[in-house]
Each structure stands twice: as structure tokens, then as C-alpha cells.
Symmetry: C2
Subunit: 308 residues, 2 copies
């Protein structure tokens, strides 16, 4: 069974760790969000691509949900001593990834080529594609103006009230090579338990991807990142509200309604089943809190069971 996943960072990474451990990684293509990529210290940082690569090669710091395990932060401390920006916590080993990527991009290579090279060097078994080689950037409108996503999320701790969201650059971006084919030719497309607004939303904003989801003969299954009326992690709540979506499994169903076949929702959201159905998706109950690797595997098995 060939599976293509649409993925953000931490939540997606956990689910995909489970999925990769009970499928052939060669049959798995992951399309990663790049709209929270940022220029930090003059370096091109791709948080979601790196979280996915680190997670799927056993390197992710699982406690934090980002960055490398057993990481040191000596460069960061030295940068702070120099009076430089230190709000984005780049680890020393992680820094090598960003320096490597930045050099390769400056030399004219595409983000998809660099992502593949990093994955190959680190022994990544699955095929990881950025959603686009072109810059698409999530921007958050607040009462004090527009903020780049990482300024809103990391620097300001997701505290500013959210008035609006835009995916700057999406209008002229093209899907990265292989992205549309991976959606069209898959047996199943899985939308990972990621923020619908800032992780999956940007992927959907790239021209051609929504159409491919409509056209594909694959079963399209999503996993709700909303459990018990709140996001498992991150600022999805504020962002969904700002987009007029209820912060519920049904809200997720609505966000994906036009092309979604199945929505996996947490058992504690079983009362949402009818609302999900109303948006045209068949609800599937599962344990979706991925607090350890056994649960990651169990959720992946449940998804595969439903699809079989």
C-alpha cells in the first residue's frame, strides 16, 4: 500500500514514527509544511522538515518535540553574550543542518534537493518532500500588525490575539517535484494530526494540491489534532477560531470537508461523530494521544486496519 502523508511538525512526526515502524518506509511519501520556515541568524531554518527528518531517523528530542536529542546550546549562549538574537533556540548539532541547507540553497540548489540530501546523509528511509521549493510563509495578523509565524509562535509565545492568517507567496508557488504525483498515485493519503491552519493549511494553499486531493483515487484519511475540544499541542485553538472554525473534531472535518473520506477522532470526542459525518467524512474512533512509542504504533495500526 502506497501512502502519502501531509505533515506539520511534532504531532505528525510522532504519528509517522508509528506508521514507519509498521509499513515499508519505501512506500511512504511525506509532504512537509515549509510555511513556518524562517531566516534565523541569516540561516534557512525549516522546522517541520527537520522535525520529521530527526523523528524518522531516531534523532528527535521527544520530550521537547523539536530539535535533536542530547543537544547542546553553546552557540546560542555565545550568541546571547554577543547581544545577538537568542529567542529561537537553535542547538549546536541542529545548527549544522541549517548551515548545510543555507549553503546549498545559496549555491542554487532547490529546497527539495537539499531536503533529500539531508535525509540521505542521515539515513531517512521515507521520501520527504517539501510542499514547495518556492517560499510560502504563514503570517499572523495581530492587533499590533502582521507577524512572521515564528515571531508569533516562538518569540511571542503564541500570546498575541490572532485576527487573521495569510500564506504569503502561496499564489505563485508551485508544488515541489513529485508532490502532485505522490497525492494522485497513492493508495491512501493521510493528513497527519497537525495544526489545520498553520501546518496543513499552507500545504493546501499551494496551487494544484487541493485539486490533486479532489482528483486522487486514494482514500483520504485525516487524524484530528483536536482532542476533547483542545489541541494536543500548539496554538491550533486560537488559529482555528480566527479562521471561523470550531475547535473540535468537527471543525477539523469542516476544514478538510471537500476531499476528506475518513476522520480519525479521539475516543473522548465520540459525541462529535454525527457532526463529522455531516461534513461528509466517516468518523473513526481511536486513541490519538501519542504520549509514547507504543501509542504511536497502536494509532498507526488502527489507521492501517481501517484502511485495509
Amino acid at each position: 500500500m502506497r501512502a502519502t502523508a501531509l505533515a506539520g511538525g511534532t504531532g505528525a512526526a510522532k504519528f509517522l514514527r508509528g506508521l514507519a515502524s509498521c509499513t515499508n518506509p519505501r512506500d511512504l511519501t511525506v509532504i512537509g509544511n515549509t510555511a513556518d520556515d524562517a531566516d534565523i541568524w541569516g540561516l534557512h531554518v525549516s522546522p517541520d522538515l527537520d522535525t520529521l527528518t530527526y523523528a524518522l531517523t531516531g534523532r528527535l528530542d521527544l520530550r521537547r518535540g523539536w530539535g535533536l536529542a542530547e543537544e547542546s546550546f553553546n552557540a546560542l549562549a555565545a550568541m546571547a553574550a554577543l547581544g545577538g538574537e537568542a529567542w529561537f533556540r537553535l542547538g549546536d548539532r541542529d545548527l549544522a543542518t541549517h548551515i548545510y541547507r543555507t549553503r546549498a540553497l545559496r549555491a542554487g540548489r532547490r529546497l527539495s534537493e537539499v531536503t533529500e540530501a539531508i535525509g540521505r546523509a542521515l539515513g531517512l528511509g521515507v521520501s520527504l518532500l517539501p510542499m514547495s521549493d518556492d517560499p510560502v510563509r504563514t503570517r499572523i495578523q495581530t492587533p499590533d500588525g502582521w507577524l512572521a509565524f515564528q515571531h508569533y509562535f516562538v518569540r511571542d509565545g503564541a500570546r498575541p490575539p490572532v485576527i487573521g492568517i495569510e500564506y504569503a507567496g502561496a499564489g505563485t508557488a508551485a508544488p515541489a517535484p513529485g508532490v502532485l504525483d505522490a497525492i494522485r498515485t497513492a493508495d491512501v493519503v493521510i493528513v497527519c494530526p497537525s495544526n489545520p491552519i498553520t501546518s496543513i493549511g499552507p500545504i493546501l494553499s499551494v496551487p494544484g494540491i487541493r485539486e490533486a486531493l479532489h482528483e486522487t483515487t486514494a482514500v483520504v484519511l485525516a487524524i484530528s489534532p483536536i482532542v476533547g475540544g483542545a489541541p494536543v499541542s500548539g496554538p491550533a485553538g486560537d488559529l482555528m477560531r480566527a479562521c471561523g472554525l470550531p475547535v473540535t473534531a468537527a471543525g477539523v472535518a469542516r476544514a478538510y470537508a471537500p476531499w476528506l473520506d475518513l476522520l480519525v477522532i479521539d475516543r473522548q470526542d465520540s459525541t462529535e461523530r454525527h457532526a463529522v459525518l455531516e461534513f461528509g467524512a466517516e468518523p473513526v474512533l481511536a486513541e490519538t494521544l501519542l504520549t509514547d512509542h507504543d501509542r504511536e504504533v497502536a494509532l498507526a495500526r488502527r489507521v492501517l486496519e481501517v484502511l485495509a
Copy 2:
């Protein structure tokens, strides 16, 4: 007494640690070589400026003679794992300096401004000026072609035979702001115990600096980096030979002959006294091997005593 020093890296840094500890650092201006600056990983690395800054703020790794004490090399190891270049050993804390500098230069600031900002942040008491804000780069001619200095020195371990040396860019470089004044208005100009070809030579190649050394009313004193017919450290021997200079204290006197008043030579080179005199410099005997801080201070005291 206002002193201006011309300085390379390690040898100069040790002597200046001694000098700074027995003079008022405010009366000391150091003009640093920038011709072995290099682009490493897309970052602007200024080895001599950093060695001087780290040494004079108590941060230098004295055993290695470069980089920061108690440094980690986690980014370097991660870069090697990615298949990136790992021959230039950038430490994690040191990396912050290069990232900080590179960002500031890209934002349009001059190297002299950035050097001052780094020095201020790290508590540097002396005034450290790069010889020029313009790029001057030492290139080494070998039987296999021209090499950038760090490729010759670090990557190839100074093993390739040296046929010639050039300071690329020197013709159109201007001294950094304050450099000529610091030479002209000093009471004493001290040429540190640095490589005459790749540390002091590039400084002298910047248009206007040789003239300032001729014109200054300061006493000009140099400290020979050649002891017992061999350089204390580094590839000065091969490089002096390639420039037609004997690898002796007298060879150093000859390199600086037109404007040198005093040359401090090691006691074990006392037989060189007459040869030094023949090049117009008065020889001064001293213990010049700077194997510990007491010796650094003793040499500085000896120099101040001679100048008094």
C-alpha cells in the same frame, strides 16, 4: 605611552596578553591582520581578529592557540555527518561569533564596526582595528596552483611547497578607519612576534600603511618570531624562504628594514646582533618564548623598559 601594535594571531595574542596586563589597555591600539579571513560554511571567519579578541578577554584556548577555551565541537561533528566540509575546526561557541559577524556584514556594516561591536560585547579593553574593511586575501602559489591561505595552512597542513605569495585585493584596499592615525600618533609602534609574510606582510600591503610607518615619529619596535633559526610556530619558515628571506632574526630585520628602529631577538639568537644592525635596526636581547603567562608579562616588561 600610547602604543599601536601590528598583529597576527597566536604569537601576537600571547605577547599582547602580557602587554595589556602591564599597560593601560586604553592606550593600546591593535591593528589585526585580516588576510587569512575565509569563507567557511558561508560564514565570514576572521581568525586573527578572533584570536586577539579571545586572548585579550581571557577566552582563548591557550593550549591550541586558537578558538575558545572549554569549547565543544558538536556542530562540526554534525556537519561531518551530513557530508559537509569539516576540515576547518569551528567550535560551537566560536560559531556564534562568525554568524554574528556574517549577519552584520550582510546588513551592510563594515568589518571594523562589527569587530568593535564584538569586542565591546566581550569586554575587550584595547582598541582592535582590522587592517582594512576591504577584502585582502593571502594566496599561496604551489606546484599545483594557487591556494587560499586556509586551504594551504589548515586543510593541507602547510605541506605543499610554496613558490609564491600574493595579497589579493591589496592594491585597491584602504586602511580601516583609525589605522593610519593610530600609527602616526602613537608613541611606539610594536610589530608583534607574528609571521612576517602572512600576518604582518598583508598589513604592510594595504596602501598607506608602509608610508605611515615611515612618517611616524613613534619608535618602531618589532619582536622576532624566529628563534634559533626556526619559527616559534606555524609555516613562517617556508614562507620566508619563498620570499627570499633567510629564516633568521636578520631575515625579520630585512623584511622590516626601511622603517624599523628596534628588533627584539631571542637570547639564543645573540649571534645575529650584527646582521640585524646591518639592516638598520638596533637589536635587543630578550626571552621571547612565550610558554606561559609569566613569560608573556616578562617580555612585555622588557619591551617597555627598552622603550622607556
